[in-house]
Structures are given as C-alpha cells and as structure tokens.
C-alpha cells in the first residue's frame, strides 16, 4: 500500500509534518481509503483523513493493529472529484467521497514534486479512490472544502513568487470555471439523460452556488493569503527592533529612538506586543494610558473622599472609554507607571491585600485624627464605632472605612470588639492602664473620659444626693441649692 500513495512525514507525536505554507482545512476520522479496481492493493482502514491546502493526508489511527504508515495524496494529482450521489443506497451506508487520481506509469499516485508537468489529458491512467467515512464527521462540509482547496491550487502559487498569490487565485477561480466546463467535456464521464438530467441540473445549481460563494469570499481569501505576508513583515520588524536595542553601543540618537517608538506603536495597534516594551519602562501606549487614567480618576476620587477601590476605578474607567476597553493587566501596569511620572495620584496596597487609588496629598495622619475625634464622642465611647459609622462620618465607602479602621488599629489607636452584635472599634484604653495599679484612674486622660461617658448612660441614684449629671466634665446640680453650689464649684480652680 505504501507503494501506491506517497509517504507522508509524521512528527513524533503523530501529527503530520506540513509543507511550507500548507494549512490544514478539514479533518475526518474513521475513514477507509479504497482505490477501486486496484486489486493489488489492500485498502487503508479506519484512519484520520486530513484535507490541507496542498494534500490529502491519511494517518493511521492509534488502534491500528498492523503498522501502517501515513499516506499522502497531493491535490495536484487529483483529476476529478465526484459529487456526492444522493441515492436510496446512500441513506443506508456510510457517506463516501470519490475522487479520481492520476497514476503514473509505474503504478503509483502521480507526484507533482517529481518534476513532470501536469496536464489533465496527458494520457496517464487514473484510478478512482473512495474514502468511506465511517466515523462521525461532516462529510458534506469536507467535500465543499475539498472542492475549494483543489480549486485554489495553493501548490501552484507556491511555485511562483509571493506576488503570484493573486494570480494564483485568479487562476484558481479561472481553473474552477475552466474545469467546470472541462469536467463535462474532457473527462469522458458518461452523459445520462432523463433522470440524469435532473441530476445534472442539481449539479449545476450546486456549482453556481459554489461560485457565488467563492466570489463572496474572495476578499477573505485574499486577506488570508496576505495574512502570511503580514506575519512575515511583523516578524521582520520585531527582529529589527530587538537587534536595534541590542546594539546600543553606537549611541542612540533621538531620531532613531523616535522612529523605534513609532514602530512599537504600530505594532501595538495591530495587536502585537513588542518584547522590547516589557523590558523597558513601558511602551508609549501604556504611558499615555497611565496619564489618561490619572486625569480621569481625579473626579471619582473627589467624590469618593480621596480614596477609591482599584476595582471601582477600573469599572468607571472602562465605562467611560466605551468601546476600547482595557484589561485589568493594562490597568495595573498603568497604575504602577504612576511612580515614574509626576501625577497627583498613587496606588496603594493595604495589609489585607485591598488595592486603592488615593491622592498623593492624602495623609493617613489626617484620617486618624478624624477617626480619633469620631471615636472619642460620648456615643462612640459607650458603643464603639462600626465601619458603617466611620464611612458616614468620613464620607468614604464602607470598605475603605474598614481599611482605615484596621490601619488605625494596627497603629495602636483603636481596639476591636468582636461580639454577636458585630465588629466594632473602640478607642484604645490599654496604654493608659497601669498593670501594677489596676484600680487607679488618672483624673484626666481618655480613661476618665470613657468612664464618664459610660456612667452617664446609667444615672446613679444615691440616697444621699440628688441626681448628678455631668456636662463638660463639670458636675451640675439641680434644685434650690444649685446657685450657691455652682458658685462654690466655680471658685474651685483645681476641679477644672
């Protein structure tokens, strides 16, 4: 069998080695290849049938018992592809693809690489090969692509230069129509009338749709063939850039650098990230993005009270951009570039991992001062503050407020209180307490303030005195003696 079809090279993992510019188009599994009327050669059973732009490949499946090698049929050797006959019989058995290959005089499939010229009517023998598709696969789609690839004659465009791709396409379409006519004139297939007229009509309809499809996709094909050139061009540019930055010994003049940056920009706009940008301080794109972000984020920052979550900023920025959305990585990179510029914003990461954008002018001390004033209010002394309370007072988001409270706690300003009521913070009294004298309370200082605040919630009633209330640290009294006592109190300087 290996003598009939050409041998195809396979990689160590079983994938076929493609020729230069060869592109895989379609794949079917569970395919038997049977050359008809060729009793000498046993058919290839149950393999993977691959259509490429240049060849038809048959690979043995891994469960093949007898070691068979991969085979290839060059598309150049195919003289005719039979259309799929829709008969009653075809409903019951597996779909088949039949095509005719030219056979060289020595009994092997004609190999265009061997150098001999190809002509359809050269008089060489042709053998019909049937591919029986036993596996699940889109047989009709395969057939359509088969026609396309065969018509495109990609192998011919390779032999000519790159500019020949356009002409190759023209010749391909020309060949299509040419062979369309030639199929019926030179092939020698028996013309049938009556029922066959209907069949022929069907065939013609099929071919006309095929042609219209081809016209429609002409641009796409042109692009695809050009795409290869584009990739080559991009590679060349990249190489040039790399070599350019490598040889810095000659000294960089500004013009060179400017043009290099332009090249980088173009590459980026096409979607190719130049490796140079990753090493350097970032492409112009990222720098521009970073500046734009710094400008944009100023308004939300003011609204949010000087600190905004990175995720919130990302959402707002993308919404403002509308169409050209940026990825989270771009955002992060843009923010980290701020260090190198002189922008009034900075990225900050808290201990808990939360990342925020904040004004450079933002000072933690100021926030702590505000927190302290909040937490020394009598209400807060009694019940502590929750992140929501802090958020309302400070005018920032609750998540930010919690971060601030946690930072203040780590600085020793606050203490936490975890209870079924929730997570609350109190002013830190521990430094004021002397462990050697735990019953001692200084007159002034936060401890006594706390005690006073706590005691006013539970007014003590002593049988000896009237109700005493405390206002600004001074005892006030009620009743007729108040005037005289008040005078007495104010005369007492040490009490204040």
């Amino acid at each position: 069998m290996s003598n009939f079809f050409s041998k195809a090279e396979v990689t160590s993992s079983g994938r076929p080695v493609f020729l230069r510019n060869e592109v895989e188009c379609h794949l079917l599994s569970g395919v038997d290849l049977e050359p008809e009327d060729h009793h000498n050669f046993p058919p290839l059973k149950s393999g993977i049938f691959i259509l490429t732009t240049h060849r038809l490949l048959w690979l043995p499946s891994s469960s093949a018992t007898t070691p068979t090698s991969a085979s290839a049929i060059p598309l150049a050797a195919i003289s005719h592809i039979f259309s799929s006959k829709k008969s009653l019989k075809s409903v019951f058995h597996s779909p088949r693809i039949r095509f005719q290959v030219l056979v060289s005089p020595d009994g092997r499939v004609f190999d265009p690489g061997s150098g001999s010229s190809f002509s359809s009517g050269s008089g060489s023998r042709s053998v019909v090969v049937t591919a029986v598709v036993r596996g699940k696969g889109d047989c009709d789609g395969f057939l359509v692509k088969f026609w396309d690839s065969w018509r495109m004659r990609a192998w011919e465009s390779n032999e000519t230069s790159g500019s020949g791709s356009g002409s190759g396409l023209a010749s391909g379409s020309g060949a299509g129509t040419g062979t369309g006519g030639g199929l019926y004139s030179t092939d020698g297939s028996v013309r049938m009338v009556g029922v066959s007229g209907i069949l022929r009509k069907e065939q013609e309809m099929w071919e006309s749709t095929d042609k219209s499809l081809q016209d429609a996709f002409q641009d796409l094909n042109a692009l695809m063939s050009k795409a290869q050139e584009m990739v080559m061009l991009a590679e060349k540019m990249r190489q040039k850039l790399l070599s350019g930055t490598g040889s810095q010994t000659s000294g960089t003049n500004d013009e060179e650098m400017g043009s290099k940056e332009e090249i980088q920009d173009w590459l980026l706009s096409v979607g190719i990230i130049s490796p140079v940008t990753k090493e350097s301080a970032g492409a112009l794109y990222h720098q521009q993005l970073s500046r734009q972000l710094a400008d944009f984020v100023r308004t939300p920052l003011e609204r949010a009270g000087g600190m905004i979550n990175l995720i919130d900023a990302y959402c707002l920025f993308n919404r403002a951009r509308g169409t050209e959305l940026i990825s989270p990585d771009d955002m992060l990179q843009a923010c980290s570039l701020w260090e190198k510029f002189d922008v009034p914003v900075m990225l900050r990461k808290f201990d808990s991992g939360v990342m925020v954008i904040q004004n450079k002018s933002h000072s933690d001390e100021e926030v702590f001062a505000r927190i302290k004033s909040l937490v020394t209010k009598p209400e807060a002394l009694r019940n502590g503050i929750s992140p929501t309370d802090a958020a309302m007072t400070l005018g920032i988001a609750p998540a930010m407020a919690k971060e601030h409270l946690l930072t203040a706690e780590s600085k020793g300003l606050l203490c936490r209180d975890i209870s079924p009521d929730g997570f609350r913070f109190y002013i830190n009294l521990f430094p004021e307490i002397d462990p050697c004298n735990i019953y001692f309370v200084k007159d002034y200082g936060i401890c006594s303030t706390w005690i006073k605040a706590v005691s006013t919630s539970e007014l003590c009633l002593s049988h000896r005195s009237r109700v005493l209330d405390y206002d600004n640290g001074m005892p006030t009294t009620y009743g007729p003696v108040s005037f005289r006592l008040r005078k007495r109190i104010t005369c007492n300087p040490a009490a204040t």
Binding site: D417, S419, I433, P435, L461, S465
Partner: protein
Amino acid sequence: MVIILISSLRFRLEAENFSPISIYCEGSTCREMQKLGDFKLPHFFNYPPYFTLQPVRETREKQVQLWKELILDYCRTQKIFVIKLEEEFPLFSNSVIERTLSHEAREAFLSALAAEGRAEWLDKGHRSCLILWHRIQEWADIIVNFVKDNGFEDSVMTVEEIRFGIESRRTELHGIDRTILMRALKLLEQKGKLAIFKGTSTDDEGIKFSV
C-alpha cells in the same frame, strides 16, 4: 437635708481635689466598680475590647498582662486553685456589657500565666489549669512558717489537718488544694525538712516535721 447635701457634695469635690481615685466609687451604687462576690473589679472590666483577643501585638501584650493580674488577684482572694476552661468562670464573662471571653482567649491568657510559672496545665488538652498564685516555693515557706509559729517542729500531722485543721484557719493554708500542698510538701521533703509517710487509710498521709 440641705446640709447633708452640701457636705456630701463637698466631700465629692474635695475627693476630686486630693484623691486620685475616681470619685464615683465610694459607696455609691454606680456600676463602674462592679463586684464579683466581694471582689472589686477594675473599671476596664466594662471595656468591651477587653474581652476580645486583640490582634495587634502591643495591645495584645498589655491585654494579656492585665488579664494575668486580674486572674491571679481573683484566685487569691477567692481561694480558687483550679480553673476548668469549659466550665463557666465568673471572671471570664461580664453580663453588664454582655461579653464573654472566647475559649481561644482563655487559653491564651492561662498559657501566658503558665509560661510565667504562675499556673500549670493539668492535662495535655489544656482543659484544666492549676493556678499558683503563690509559687510552690512560697507555699513551702508558708508551711515552714506555719510549723514554726505553732510549735509543730517535731510533731506529726496529717495532710487533712494541715488543710482543714483549726490551726491553719488563720493562715493561707486553710483550704489549700491538695495537689499544691503535696507538691510543696515533697519539695520540703527533698530538703529534708519533713518526711511523708502513708497512714492507716490510703486517703490520709502523715507528715513528720523536722524543721
């Protein structure tokens, strides 16, 4: 009535002048200085963060220190020798502010005491802790003083007599935990100050002093 009012007020004002103690605690029913039984609680007992194990290192150290002092004081005055973690311990909860020390916090504070040598875990699972508000050596000294003060230098006593006898009633030895007493006695035995011997019943051991 008015005079009493003025004088009580003046007392309060003068108290504010001279004494550093908070003016609300003397005899009033104000709840600042609570009591647990007859034990006076410090004011920070009502401070809710006191009952939450603080994560910040400095704050935690202070908190641990305060709790250690409090536990030792309480146990000393109430003559408590063993604290079981799973049982309710009145010092570990405050019903006024509705806070209780978590199991983790209790273990942390008692472990700190154990590290200092002021407590000992009785089991590996840290469920029960022996509180040594006097160290074993101190207990040994107390026993020696007790013996000397009462003239028992060459006599014999049972362990129960030391614990619950009439003579020990005025001393700190009264009601001492048996484990602690045995340890102290063994320490003294090593020093040769006494000898322990088994009595007629397995419960009661006798001590022969030779101080």
